[in-house]
Symmetry: C2
Subunit: 362 residues, 2 copies
Amino acid sequence: MNVGIISTGRYAPKLVLDNKRLEQLVDTNDEWIITRTGISERRIIAPSREMPTPEYCKENSLNYNEEMWKWLNETENVYYMGKMAGENALNSAGIKKEDVSLLVVSCNSPLFVFPSQAAILRKMLSLDNAEPWAITSGCTSSIFHMKFIDTYLKQHGGTALSICPDALSATVDWSDRNNCVLFGDSAGAIVFSEVKEGGIQSYILGSKPSFEIALRTGLENQTINTNPLEFSYKKQIERPYFYMNGNEVFKFATRIMGGSNDYEGVIVEALKACGKTVEDIDLFIPHQANDRIIDAALKRCKINRDKVARTVDRYGNNSAASIPVALDEAVQEKRIKKGDTIVFAGFGADLSYGAAVVDWSY
Amino acid sequence: MNVGIISTGRYAPKLVLDNKRLEQLVDTNDEWIITRTGISERRIIAPSREMPTPEYCKENSLNYNEEMWKWLNETENVYYMGKMAGENALNSAGIKKEDVSLLVVSCNSPLFVFPSQAAILRKMLSLDNAEPWAITSGCTSSIFHMKFIDTYLKQHGGTALSICPDALSATVDWSDRNNCVLFGDSAGAIVFSEVKEGGIQSYILGSKPSFEIALRTGLENQTINTNPLEFSYKKQIERPYFYMNGNEVFKFATRIMGGSNDYEGVIVEALKACGKTVEDIDLFIPHQANDRIIDAALKRCKINRDKVARTVDRYGNNSAASIPVALDEAVQEKRIKKGDTIVFAGFGADLSYGAAVVDWSY
């Protein structure tokens, strides 16, 4: 049995934040950003109202559970983006919601630890027959999804919907000019099922655990007093933003993607795993963190520049969403035809990395 | 190929918080707690020092990444508990770290959104050959692990370590007498591999998405102004605690576990899926949320009271850790012998639920 991609979808917020506007928020400029990152603009969510709290609902005799679902469905938030991307993916291939048996969701910018991202999107999308799995591994999440879904469908059958929504705008420090220029919000979705031709050919996943990227969640409440009668849970919530050591991440990413003296890199490794070479690539879809990382990978792997899908100029680094969003854009632009070999490669927080090779089925 | 359990382990903090001591923290009493929950005491983590911040490290010329790993390895925190439980599980069966090919981690009380729980524990345990998967679904997580690991190992082979550490003490509201009495901290671990006899027989997973249990993460920073020049990210971080509607969760849990007029319940459903009945149960290991939920399940399913593993009296509700901790305790107490049929059943945040049947292999 071969498992392949049968449909894609995406959602991007309407609000465009370009470099000129960013110049008015932090001490930066268009040229500096473009030279170092290739990013011209990014999309940002704009919820129309605040999330209801249990206290607010109690005071106003409202049902908290019902109000939360209303807020999630009616305002632009990270789950709303995921819902829209998922619906677009299902609609573009005419897949019925009741036929989705597996839902896999990754989100690096969740609003809750629980309910899980997958449980929330299952409800919002009315996927009543879908088993909800929340599997997140930084910006590499979409590659983890491919391995999980290939493995799962081969054993249990069915149709899988993978959704990666991310809104790092909600956790980035907007006073940190080195980081806030890099990220944008959007969501991508991919539908997988049994295919007669093509499908997922190989995947490589790796991990080099490190705090070079760390997102503090405001959960760092620690008992620092061992006398239980004197509990003093200190709230270190003054720092909910995330931390990134850009230089270290750049070094990691260029080596992982393009290889180095002692490592061939994840792109070549995934191609080898299915008996292919760089010459077989029809479209290369890398994680969209930075133009310079993408260019370094192209150069080191000797991939032709016209074979790459690029969205980083218009979306910035949209985290786990970046690969499925770039894929959907390429599908809509008719850059992919049946039989094409697509190579996906990603890296990100954790630090995680991975690549997958997919032969296009439609 | 059959996939089965080959080893177990657990870790519980030394600090015991009993009901008498709780009486001094909130307006409650031992009798009230025991009558309604069956809980006499719970374990609580006691980190010896605060987590380092990037700012602290910069000011003191320390490497943030290195300081974080030191803190994680040297103080009692949720990841430290996971490491200890994982090591105990590996040691008790003499499994070498290099032979672990798959690491699956669930944690409902993470300190970070990224690095993922799995990436962190991979490093702390030096599991250099293990693929790290972070898969969390509330207190049902350990059942999700069983399905994932059975599916994964059948296709890719190898040895899997499942770890569920949780420290809800760090996020519970210690001024809320209805909730803070219920939870405790600990970690459980299970090793899975190919087995010649017995193994995982069936699993059932379900989801009824709801905010009856919701953990706000301090990430609810929302753009509520659509003018990008007037970004006003409001930090709703005054409420990092989690919310639980105890009555609704109780109704959900008793129905899911024990069944109702229109549903046979997850225990019977999982047994049927592998051609067994309640009479075949040698040991029943439910999620340890509340004695009354366990007793209702025993009564409705007609399971003999001496067939149940109970830890709730001494650990409270230890979240995702509860099922693997109860399993390890039963193994150490020699309550399980080769060929025994073990039924696991859980429910929790999301709302998720599930059950699995495992025939014991050693």
